[in-house]
Amino acid sequence: MSEVQLKKKKEELEEEHPMEHLLRMERMPHIWCPTCGIGTAVTAFLMALEKSQIPLKDTAIVSGIGCTGRVAGYVKLDSFHSTHGRAIPFATGLKLANPKLKVVVFSGDGDIIGIGGNHFLHAARRNMDLTVVCVNNFIYAMTGGQCAATTPITANTSTSPYGNFEQPFNLPYLAASCGAVYVARWTALDVRRLAKSLTEALQKKGFSFVEIICPCSTLYARRNRLGTGLDLMKFYHDNSVIKHGADLSELDIGFQSKIVVGKFIDRERPTFIEGVNQGLRGVLKEKFVEYGGPIDDD
């Protein structure tokens, strides 16, 4: 390398990453594998955080357990890394205790839909004011690649060594049928569209849900001989079909099948807090004392 090139390289290395102010840089390097898609999903989320202009001071992020469950630990917000499957109820408590907060749940499919599935159904039904971001990599990654409630039929995992033969969940369909007011799905390749969806989801009142189809290079791709994370990104490029408002029942994902992406639901319905407060005020009239947040609040 010439001296000029070296100098340029040095400058490049010293240049601040545009997302640094939103990350806990002191915790880098992160734990994710090379070509894992979670980092890309986080980038899209950080872009959305900036775009949505919600005050960062009043934004909290909650994760459960798993590879995606580590996201809360890297984002520079009030961040909580809770127990496996319980990010949504933890976030529910956080939100209800301090209603001025914008609360985001960022976790994986195994966490939110597998072990935590019941909470997902009920939070969507109540229209709890949460933005739920689910990274779906079709597998339990942190524990070494076991079968999930999202594993496509015939896909190989360490607990389905001959292929999975259970029907996986169709997450947008599930979210919508439980009452989510915003439902979208993108692949980790669609960073810009994903960031736009996440911005909308963050700005939406009520239960908003974004599924991110994401490569797990180390386990899902390797076990199924699909190449690297980059090869999966190429696969998404060639096989994802944008279909806004698509028929939700047609969003199933098969093994290496076409993946329908887009925004499927964007509707209005009173949030849990609005519904309860309106209802109680209607019945109790002037006797109703609305809970507005922590007592010693500034």
């Binding site: 127990t83 939100k95 301090n98 001025k100 009920h122 109790l284």
Partner: protein
């Protein structure tokens, strides 16, 4: 800090233990309850659901007890004084997130109105067989505090005390009632708000630049913030350092777990809360708690009439166990009689604390009904030999 008069139902009432615990929670400043219906504890959440909209507070009926306990930990970090209420099967489901509350040092209160177990057991009938689970039920090593009231009046005060201790020590505090105490109706006198002292949350005065969420001073309890205060903290169930960041080393584990244990163990003496009567010159001391303490009284009276010197010692705080107190007595008496509605739980602690200085006789009961005073009387006679 005094209680808020708007939340205190000053006056004399006839209340059962469940309702009294709810009033205690309100007086203590509780603003968040997440719960799932389960007999015989449901009356607590029913009363909260009725009272909260009139005084300010959120009740949410969760989809299960896993969610209830997780929501309570979240609410504590959101700035609420938070509580959940349950019984045996639900208590089992809460264990993982009780551990999370210990690890995240989230002040909160869990009321367990004990019923007969194991499994579904006797939903409508009493038990006291969750006492060891209260102490050891979540995985890993930790310390917490458990109270055991024996009357509706005491349910009121025990719940206030539970909130205060949870703030002082930043641990989950358990109120281990039993179905009898939960469902018996007695006079409950609720004082004026200015007679109720509350322990305020230990919010930090440090700036975000100076503050480390798990750094502590001498009492080993860190200062707190709430989400939204602008500190951008990280809180995790993983082993962590003073910044709250995960550290996967034995050194970090040693430092953290040791502090979580010592912040209670080193302050054990502050946490002794027993009711004692005629233990000074006793030959036999009956140790019990909850409803079993009340059933012991006729047996103690009968034995005293016959000239046996019987003392009465009731655990109001069961965990941490008052081992010093027991050891002091053990050196002077002929024997302990432990009365509890299980096949031997707190008796193991009594035996341990005596260090072999005296004998310990258990009067067990499988639950579903209270002891026969006659059985307790026989054990007292045996112990007096």
């Amino acid at each position: 800090m005094k209680a808020d008069p708007k939340r205190v139902l000053t006056g004399a009432h006839y209340l059962d233990g469940d309702h009294a615990a709810a009033e205690g929670a309100l007086a203590a400043g509780c603003t968040f309850v997440a719960g799932y219906p389960i007999t015989p504890s449901t009356e607590v959440v029913e009363r909260m659901a009725e009272r909260f909209p009139r005084v300010g507070g959120v009740f949410i009926q969760m989809e299960d007890e896993l969610g209830s306990m997780a929501a309570v930990v979240g609410a504590a970090w959101g700035g609420s004084k938070a509580m959940t209420v349950t019984s045996g099967p639900g208590f089992s489901l809460m264990m993982e997130n009780i551990g999370l509350a210990c690890m995240m040092e989230a002040p909160c209160v869990v009321v367990n109105v004990q019923r007969g177990g194991p499994s579904t057991g006797l939903p409508t009938l009493p038990g006291q067989a969750d006492m060891m689970q209260a102490k050891w039920g979540s995985h890993g090593d930790y310390e917490l505090i458990a109270l055991s009231p024996n009357s509706p009046q005491e349910c009121f005060w025990a719940t206030i005390k539970a909130f205060n201790l949870s703030e002082r020590f930043r641990v989950p505090v358990l109120v281990m009632m039993d179905e009898c105490v939960g469902h018996m109706t007695e006079k409950v006198v609720i004082p004026e708000a200015d007679q109720i002292e509350l322990y305020p949350r230990r919010y930090t005065k440090l700036s975000p630049e100076e503050y480390l969420p798990f750094k502590t001073g001498k009492d080993l309890v860190p200062e707190m913030i709430k989400a939204g205060d602008g500190y951008k903290i990280h809180v995790t169930g993983l082993t962590h350092d003073e910044r709250g960041y995960p550290v996967m080393t034995w050194e970090a584990q040693e430092k953290l777990v040791r502090r979580l244990i010592e912040k209670i163990r080193l302050f054990k003496d502050e946490l002794v809360d027993v009711e004692e009567e005629q233990t000074d010159n006793a030959d036999v001391v009956v140790v019990s708690y909850g409803i079993s303490s009340r059933v012991s009284i006729p047996a103690i009276q009968k034995a005293r009439k016959e000239g046996i010197k019987v003392g009465y010692l009731r655990l109001i705080i069961a965990w941490p166990f008052p081992e010093k107190k027991i050891y002091e007595l053990a050196q002077k008496i002929k024997g302990f009689v432990v009365v509890e509605m299980n096949y031997g739980q707190m008796v193991l602690e009594v035996e341990r604390a005596t260090k072999g200085k005296t004998k310990t006789i258990l009067v067990p009961h499988g639950g579903g009904w209270v002891h026969e005073p006659e059985d307790i009387y026989k054990a007292i006679k045996e112990a007096a030999k």
